[in-house]
Amino acid sequence: MTEYESLSVTNNSSRQFLSFILAGEEYATDILKVQEIRDWTHATIVPNSPDYVEGVTNLRGQIIPIINLRTRFSLPSDDNLKNRIVIVLNVDDGHRTRLMGLLVDAFAETYDINDYEIKTAPSKISVIDDEFIIGLASANEKMLILLDVDELLTSQELTPTVNDNVA
């Protein structure tokens, strides 16, 4: 409760979030990070990259990588999904901005969430590293997991280092 109060006192602005479905759960990202939403099409496999890198695809002349969020979060893959979408995000790693696609099950909704409504997630709740989660929020009696895409997509495996995923 103290956390909640301190947040409400210091900050009263609201942010828009775009939410999407992943294995029945609802996740959300800051809408300002989202450049566009596209239908999922085949991606070109990138050799020797982490398994959650689905490949690269052509976004109007730019080559962008596609991250499969199910694989990233160690969720089982499901071949029956029809309406999978790619959320194209502007990712800022502090040095430059890159375009990356996030492959998710389906698009859900957009929400206005006040900063004071965002609650800190208890640590180590899942396989997802705590630093990738901004917090939790409730909307229409559902729980939203707010993701920090900057952290998620600039994590070590996706930044230029030695790639040791060679079989």
Partner: protein, 690 residues
């Protein structure tokens, strides 16, 4: 009003570096009494000084000021152009460059050479100043005896458009007044009738008398900024002052002297101008555009090409349908294809610059090296107008410098040696550039002693690069100079033989998608031929299929492709590792394995073999199928993702899909990495068993 000056700094830097290049090349061409060249050098130095002053780069200003003074003396003929001074000026150019670079990076430049050169400059100038003072003393005496101050008569006739460049006559005259008392007569005969006066032009001219003991240079400096925009005559007159004043008075009796014009008082005629304006820019002219804008344009056109390819596909699918509109559509698509291709070529040409940008540095280098080595060298340049992509140009500079140095240092003989061999004592190095089938070829031809094949062989044996049993042709032996860790210089000299050998040159050239070849005739000289793609943005590629993926192999690295003959596959330790190609065993690279693609399902896969070459090594690539050959536009994986070992980039195919471009050199690194891991894992199992 305050303007953020820092926004102009990049322009200043760019122009200054151009100015320095101009100074350098002009100095090398400088001959006695060549006033135009001296003026050009002086102007370049003056602009640098002015710009540096504006931005507060004081060290640049101070240094350049002395250079300018020296040049000014040469310009006035007060100083003979001596080789020693030219050398000093060349060294000064280097120092100014260092200083500007330091100012750009915001660091203090503490290279000791700068202080040395500055002292040398000061010394040279001082000597001259002393001379001058003596001269002036003499002059002074004369003046004193005649008891008169020297008098300058200045005829200043501005061109009509002078005021439009922001110059103000009032400022000029005020500056003159600082030198001494000024008497002036304004001539206003050329003022046209009021109805044809153009308010922004200047119709007045001045006859000015200045009483001052200054020298002509001081007066010229006042008119520095307008010297191209006016007719100026400066003469020294003695004992004529009263006369002139009389004359002036006579004139001013007739015409009421108007007040000095200010820029608001500008006047004009449409066409007839008394003084012909100088033609300032007879050539087409150019504009400075940021390279990012050009790249954005190139990317846009790249997308257009892809869209056009997609439309063409659709057109082909429709072509069997009988419909009037389909025919029209197809016609339109053919036109679109032509236009797109033209547009792409034109856009690519924007990035193209003549190779002279690289060649320009060589006269200076040859000049320096020839004096250092005591060799007589003539440098010939040809094909300087051959164009190539700016990116390629930036990267080819260093390898070329290395090759030219190599020719100067090792190729050409000392004068006496040349005479003994019955040659002209002056050796020539010829740089020749030309286009050949989508490539630019740069030949570096020297008429020196040629490669010493015997010596190379000994050296290679000594270094263990070859074995004594190997039977190599002379050409093969000569090519060994490109092998890593090979340097024939008996002594490590300042010029070459610093361990950075020809292998680095070759590696750099190959990383640009080019290659280097050499021919050599003992006693007659050697020729190094560097061929480079005209642009890095486009690549001729062979499309291949492996599993379900399409990859592109650069056509330039392919030697041969053929059906896989299983008899030629040799196994080592149970693994198919070597391929027998024309009596040579070359390592087999399975793309499927290296790229961790799903392993082959049927024996019909991996039916083709492509023999490729990189850095002199051959590899046999196993692929499933060969597809088209086509030109592809290179895209970086790095811009949104990260570099991948074994992949040099990506491109977009006609269907909008992405295909990755195979990097042969990266493959061998990848192979090594993998075999390391395998052997590591193997050791691990052995240990655990033990």
């Amino acid at each position: 009003m305050s303007i953020d000056l820092s926004q102009f700094i990049p322009t200043f830097l760019e122009e200054s570096f151009e100015g320095l290049e101009l100074m350098e090349s002009s100095l090398l061409d400088l001959e006695q009494g060549d006033i135009d060249t001296i003026n050009a050098i002086f102007r370049a130095a003056h602009s640098i000084k002015g710009g540096a002053g504006t931005f507060g780069f004081n060290r640049v200003t101070d240094f350049t000021h002395d250079v300018e003074t020296l040049l000014d003396e040469m310009r006035d003929g007060r100083r003979k152009i001596e080789q020693r001074d030219v050398d000093l000026l060349l060294r000064s150019v280097d120092c100014i460059r260092l200083l500007i670079e330091a100012a750009r990076d915001g660091v203090e430049c503490d290279a000791p050479s700068i202080q040395d050169v500055h002292n040398a400059l000061a010394q040279t100038l001082n000597k001259a100043v002393n001379h001058q003072e003596e001269a002036e003393n003499v002059e002074q005496e004369i003046v004193e005896t005649s008891n008169e101050t020297p008098c300058w008569k200045i005829s200043f006739i501005p061109h009509h458009e002078m005021l439009q460049t922001g110059n103000d006559v009032l400022h000029i005259i005020n500056a003159l007044a600082e030198l001494g008392p000024v008497t002036q007569v304004v001539e206003c005969e050329s003022i046209p009738p009021l109805d044809s006066i153009h308010p922004e032009e200047c119709y007045l001219s001045w006859q000015i008398t200045l009483q001052s003991s200054c020298n002509k240079g001081d007066i010229d400096e006042v008119f520095e900024w307008v010297e191209d925009e006016c007719d100026l005559i400066v003469e020294q007159v003695k004992n004529e002052l009263p006369e002139i004043v009389d004359e002036f008075e006579a004139v001013s009796d007739n015409v009421e002297t108007p007040p000095l014009p200010t820029p608001s008082q500008k006047t004009d005629v449409e066409s007839v101008s008394a003084v012909k304006p100088k033609v300032s820019n007879p050539e087409g002219g150019s504009i400075r555009v940021g390279i990012d804008k050009v790249d954005a344009l190139i990317n846009r056109v790249g997308e257009l090409v892809i869209t056009q390819a997609m439309l063409k596909q659709v057109g082909n699918d429709l072509s069997h349908q009988q419909h009037d509109l389909v025919e029209k559509l197809l016609e339109g698509l053919v036109q679109l294809e032509g236009n797109t291709r033209d547009l792409q070529e034109d856009v690519m040409r924007i990035r193209m610059l003549p190779i002279s940008f690289v060649f320009n540095r060589f006269p200076r280098m040859v000049y320096d090296i020839s004096s250092k080595l005591g060799k007589k060298i003539e440098l010939k340049l040809s094909g300087e107008q051959t164009e190539l992509d700016k990116t390629v140009m930036e990267k080819i500079g260093d390898p070329l410098v290395h090759l030219v140095r190599n020719s100067l240092d090792h190729g050409l003989e000392m004068p006496d040696e040349r005479i003994a061999a019955g040659k002209d004592e002056t050796g020539t190095v010829h740089l020749h550039a030309y286009h050949q089938g989508g490539y630019i070829v740069i030949d570096i031809i020297d008429d020196g002693r040629g490669l010493n094949t015997q010596r190379i062989k000994e050296k290679a044996l000594e270094k263990g690069l070859i074995s004594a049993e190997q039977n190599l042709s002379d050409q093969e032996i000569n090519e060994l100079i490109f092998a890593p860790g090979f340097s024939t210089a008996d002594q490590v000299s300042d010029l070459s033989g610093r361990g950075v050998g020809m292998d680095v040159v070759r590696r750099n050239i190959e990383s640009l998608g080019g290659h280097v070849a050499l021919t050599s005739t003992p006693g007659e000289g050697s020729t190094f031929s560097v061929s480079l793609p005209l642009t890095l943005a486009i690549l001729d590629g062979q499309l291949i299929r492996v599993a379900s993926e399409t990859y592109i192999v650069p056509l330039i690295s392919i030697i041969e492709s053929a059906q896989l003959n299983h008899n030629n596959v040799k196994a080592v330790a149970g693994n198919p590792s070597l391929y027998c190609f024309r009596d040579e065993y070359i390592p087999i690279y399975s793309i499927r394995q290296l790229f961790s693609l799903p392993s082959s399902q049927s024996p019909l896969d991996e039916t083709m073999v492509i023999i490729v070459e990189s850095s002199g090594n051959k590899y046999a690539l196993l692929v499933d199928d060969l597809l088209d050959q086509q030109q592809v536009v290179l895209k970086s994986l790095d811009s949104n993702y990260m570099p991948i070992e074994g992949i040099s980039g990506a491109t977009i195919l006609g269907d909008g899909g992405v295909a990755l471009i195979v990097d042969i050199k990266g493959l061998s690194a990848l192979k090594q990495q993998m075999s390391c891991e395998i052997s590591h894992a193997f050791e691990h199992t052995v240990e655990s068993v033990a």
